[in-house]
């Protein structure tokens, strides 16, 4: 399978199964397109001679050469390469069955903000307010180390609700992990996801010393941010948090963080929010489409999504311009490493929720990921007894690129690895469903990411 597209004046052909990326001119673009339709060179050459009549540079001999090149790339396995991966699907998970390498620790099911669009229902996950004790957190870290097999790198995200509402426990858990990781042959990478309200010098010092990554919630423009991200008195949080975020980011040398925003029906022109983040001095950015029920007032409409897709293209143009000006910035979804990216096993095996990645509630229950917390039927077990509902885990273990018939015809399947199980479940009622609206935006993001990277690579040459 191939995928052809054009962004501005760049024609790109992706060979889905080999991962090859070709930048072509409009003639080769058409030649490859006709091969893809099953046409032979004997049909292609006269057809294109007619189409390009009047172009001196498009001769019969030239088209013969172009067809030779396409056929050579096919022989090399870089165009029209066959899909031979299905027998491998699930192999990585089978090979590492029972191995856990990442936990999302819900250290606080409570929040000091009252954002109506919160998927976690203001941090409570449709349950009672609670905070995690040190003992539960320590048991979670022991569970992770005990079940991580030979994996060295272990990821732990302090999440909520708002994790800074249980900050001492976070610090104590990090200290515990650091005290044992060497002897256990492990390397903990901690992430903190915060709304910023409680950031102070102590948080900045500790986070910048111990957190591999910090995720800071900011939606961009003040009026956009303050529409949803308000305290319990209804007061917006933008004025409070922005100086704190700036101080924290500056203190960590502008690295190892993401400014993470959500855009909704109220701001599908999210590029304006990205520009505000840039103006505030932030350069590591992530903006996510809201995930909510289709009838929610915040949900993106079909019309919004078309605007969002144009915004993604404009974002790519802005990134190109800033790169050329020597003022580059990062957009999480446009980061792509064509030479050093994930192997095919990773690309086939899905996101890892419920198998290598789990979420832990304040009272120690295990769920497949943070987005399933509160859905009782997805409870996997707890940090003391491990997985006690193997049938739930099997459902997640069976998620891979080939588990969803719709993915077989999608060119982007080896970039998303089958998509988000939680989004699929919330959109279709099944973790093996397809959240098509999310897929639509994902494909556009990948087109822009690959085009930007192709342009950068060609510029270096």
């Amino acid at each position: 399978m191939i995928h052809r597209y054009t962004l501005d004046d760049l024609h790109i052909v992706l060979d889905v199964n080999s991962g090859s990326v070709h930048v072509v001119d409009e003639v080769a673009y058409d030649v490859i397109g006709l091969y893809d339709e099953g046409r032979t060179r004997e049909e292609i050459i006269p057809a294109l001679l007619e189409e390009y009549a009047g172009r001196d540079d498009v001769t019969k001999a030239d088209l013969e050469d172009c067809c030779d090149d396409v056929e050579e790339l096919k022989v090399q396995g870089k165009l029209f390469s066959p899909d031979t991966f299905e027998p491998l699907a699930g192999e990585l998970k089978n090979r590492s069955a029972g191995v856990v390498k990442a936990l999302c620790l819900h250290v606080a099911h409570t929040c000091n903000l009252n954002c109506s669009y919160c998927f976690a229902s203001q941090g409570k996950y449709h349950g009672d307010r609670a905070v995690m004790s040190f003992e539960v957190g320590k048991q979670a870290l022991d569970f992770l180390m005990d079940h991580s097999g030979t994996r060295r790198n272990l990821e732990v995200d302090f999440f909520g609700g708002e994790p800074l509402m249980n900050w001492q426990v976070v610090k104590d858990l990090v200290a515990y992990a650091r005290s044992v990781e060497k002897a256990r042959g492990k390397n903990f990478r901690f992430t903190l996801t915060t709304n910023g309200v409680l950031i102070d010098d102590d948080v900045i010092d500790f986070a910048n010393r111990e957190m591999h990554n910090v995720v800071l919630s900011l939606d961009g423009r003040k009026e956009v941010h303050d529409r949803f991200r308000v305290d319990y008195a209804g007061k917006g949080s933008w004025e409070t948090i922005v100086p704190k975020f700036q101080k924290l980011v500056q203190a960590r040398n502008n690295k190892g963080y993401y400014m993470r925003g959500t855009f909704t029906h109220h701001n599908p022109d999210f590029l304006e929010d990205i520009k505000v983040m840039l103006d505030l001095g932030f350069t590591e950015l992530s903006m996510e489409p809201v995930v909510c029920a289709a009838d929610d007032p915040s949900a993106l409409t079909a019309e919004d999504r078309e605007l969002v897709k144009r915004q993604y293209e404009d974002l790519a143009r802005l990134m190109r311009a800033r790169r050329q000006e020597g003022r580059p910035f990062t957009f999480y979804h446009y980061m792509i490493d064509l030479t050093g990216g994930p192997c095919v096993y990773k690309r086939l095996s899905g996101c890892g929720s419920g198998t290598e990645y789990m979420a832990v509630t304040p009272w120690g229950d295990l769920y497949p990921c943070h987005q399933f917390v509160g859905e009782e039927k997805f409870k996997l077990g707890d940090v003391w007894h491990g997985v006690t509902s193997p049938e739930v885990q099997e459902e997640f273990a069976a998620c891979n690129v080939y588990a969803r018939p719709e993915c077989r015809g999608c060119w982007a399947r080896l970039y998303c690895s089958g998509g988000c199980a939680a989004n699929a479940y919330h959109a279709t009622g099944s973790v093996k469903g397809v959240y098509e609206q999310g897929c639509d935006l994902f494909r556009k993001r990948m087109e822009c990411a690959i085009a930007l990277e192709a342009e950068r690579t060609l510029g270096e040459d």
Binding site: H22, V31, D65, C66, V215, R260, D337, G340
Partner: protein
């Protein structure tokens, strides 16, 4: 090739022979938390 420039990319078919160590990051842990993309992740295998 006159009309086609092929970028250097990791050969996925080849990675089937050497990949699968599992050391790489879980998919949505680092930033987004609401979608799944693996394209932006680094391979952490030291010998490929």
């Amino acid at each position: 090739m006159k009309r086609i420039k092929t970028l250097e990319t990791r050969d996925l078919c080849d990675s089937a022979k050497t990949g699968g160590c599992g050391e790489c990051q879980t998919s949505c842990q680092s930033a987004c938390k609401t979608s799944c993309g693996i394209a932006n992740q680094q391979c952490e295998k030291t010998e490929k």
